[in-house]
């Protein structure tokens, strides 16, 4: 899901960089000193899980945890994922520096949406099962939206949308299900031990 250097067109790179800069500015402005450690932990978790790759079909996929980032961080998912993706690009050559904006946006925008979705669903679902479902939905939706955003970036750079979306979704539907379980489980667990950690997705 990390788009490499030299694949995307100039306007797409520029738009991705601008959107990520805006999201990062918003995330940093809303950041409180108390939540910075949560940003650090989620950024580190995202950094590490992206290294655990599962071969699926002609590509390979990895867990993203962007849904959980959105639930816990809200807009701060932008700066959190930006730092982690920057380090992945520098240390491991995943993606690239020029595509950093696009790659961050493709992951962080679905994260923010998933966080909103979670806090909206949770208002109506008070039971443990309902909370699990809210977390599951947010985790899965964030992955699938990330695929579509990546495919859209490729499409606007003159690649074929159906091929990119097909390959990405094919590889990431199992990932979305696993992430749904992880997010659902994490949400139920956090709801018991630290309910205020789930407030990140609130507007």
């Amino acid at each position: 899901m990390h788009i490499a250097e030299g694949v995307l067109s100039g306007p797409v790179l520029g738009a991705g960089a601008a959107l990520t800069a805006a999201g990062t500015a918003l995330g940093l402005r809303r950041l409180r000193p108390e939540t910075v450690p949560v940003v650090a932990v989620m950024g580190a978790a995202f950094f590490v899980t992206s290294l655990i790759h599962v071969p699926i079909g002609p590509s390979s996929a990895h867990l993203l945890l962007n849904g959980l980032c959105g639930i816990m961080l809200g807009w701060a998912a932008f700066p959190a994922l930006l730092v982690s993706l920057l380090l992945q690009a520098v240390l491991f050559g995943f993606g690239g520096l020029s595509t950093l904006g696009v790659n961050t946006f493709d992951m962080a925008a679905p994260a923010v949406l998933a966080g909103r979705l979670f806090s909206w669903v949770r208002r109506y679902a008070k039971s443990g099962a309902g909370r699990f479902a809210a977390g599951f939905g947010a985790g899965a939706v964030a992955v699938l939206l990330g695929c579509l955003a990546t495919a859209a970036a490729l499409y606007f750079s003159g690649r074929e949308f159906a091929a990119a979306a097909g390959t990405l979704l094919g590889a990431h539907i199992p990932i979305a299900i696993v992430e749904g379980f992880i997010s659902g489980w994490a949400v139920v667990f956090l709801g018991r031990v630290k309910p205020d950690a789930l407030e990140g997705g609130l507007p």
């Binding site: 580190a44 290294l51 390979s60 240390l91």
Partner: protein
């Protein structure tokens, strides 16, 4: 949603992670020139072959000269490749891309077929070994080492720790240019 489902979910997730703890998926390729033939291999870092991915032979200006598709071992082969310097470019549908640059062929232009043939047969074994060796070196270079991962985590915690430090300075007014932390201005000490 009570009791054992959590543990089952956790185990399922853990098993899924461990079962597939392959490494990263950067698309890497290398190629060697043997006479008119350019042959090579494309793989994802971690060693898995990149199967059925289009590979292009481009000249220095980026013009596509030839295109082939990798076989089930990730191997590709351009027959009658030009002697000039070329770039081998592979790109998957989902945005992975690998580039390998090949220098111009060492033999001068317009050689008599005999000398090319002898060069080839003389260097046949070393070339095969070199290809295998190049592949191994690439594979090792693409490997993700634990110290890189730990270093990355350290960077992340350090960067956010610095952010927290600056935000705390602003909020609590610590370290106002006089060097060091002024404990009298800590919230606990000042009774805020």
């Amino acid at each position: 949603m009570k009791g054992f489902p959590y543990s089952i979910q956790l185990v399922a997730a853990g098993a899924f992670l461990l079962a597939g703890s392959a490494q990263a998926h950067r698309l890497v390729l290398f190629a060697t020139r043997e006479g008119d033939v350019i042959a090579g291999k494309a793989f994802f870092s971690g060693g898995r072959s990149a199967v059925a991915i289009p590979v292009q032979l481009q000249d220095a200006g980026g013009k596509v000269l030839q295109q082939v598709v990798t076989d089930e071992q990730g191997k590709f082969r351009f027959i009658s490749a030009p002697p000039e310097a070329v770039m081998v470019v592979a790109e998957s549908a989902d945005g992975h891309r690998g580039v390998f640059e090949l220098a111009a062929r060492a033999t001068s232009s317009g050689p008599d077929p005999q000398s090319v043939a002898t060069t080839e047969s003389a260097s046949e074994r070393p070339v095969v070994d070199l290809a295998e060796l190049t592949y191994r070196v690439e594979e090792l270079q693409q490997r993700i080492y634990l110290h890189d991962v730990l270093g990355g985590i350290g960077y992340i915690l350090g960067i956010w720790g610095t952010v927290a430090l600056f935000m705390a300075h602003r909020k609590y007014g610590m370290g106002t240019g006089r060097g060091g932390v002024n404990t009298r201005e800590l919230p606990s000490a000042s009774g805020k």
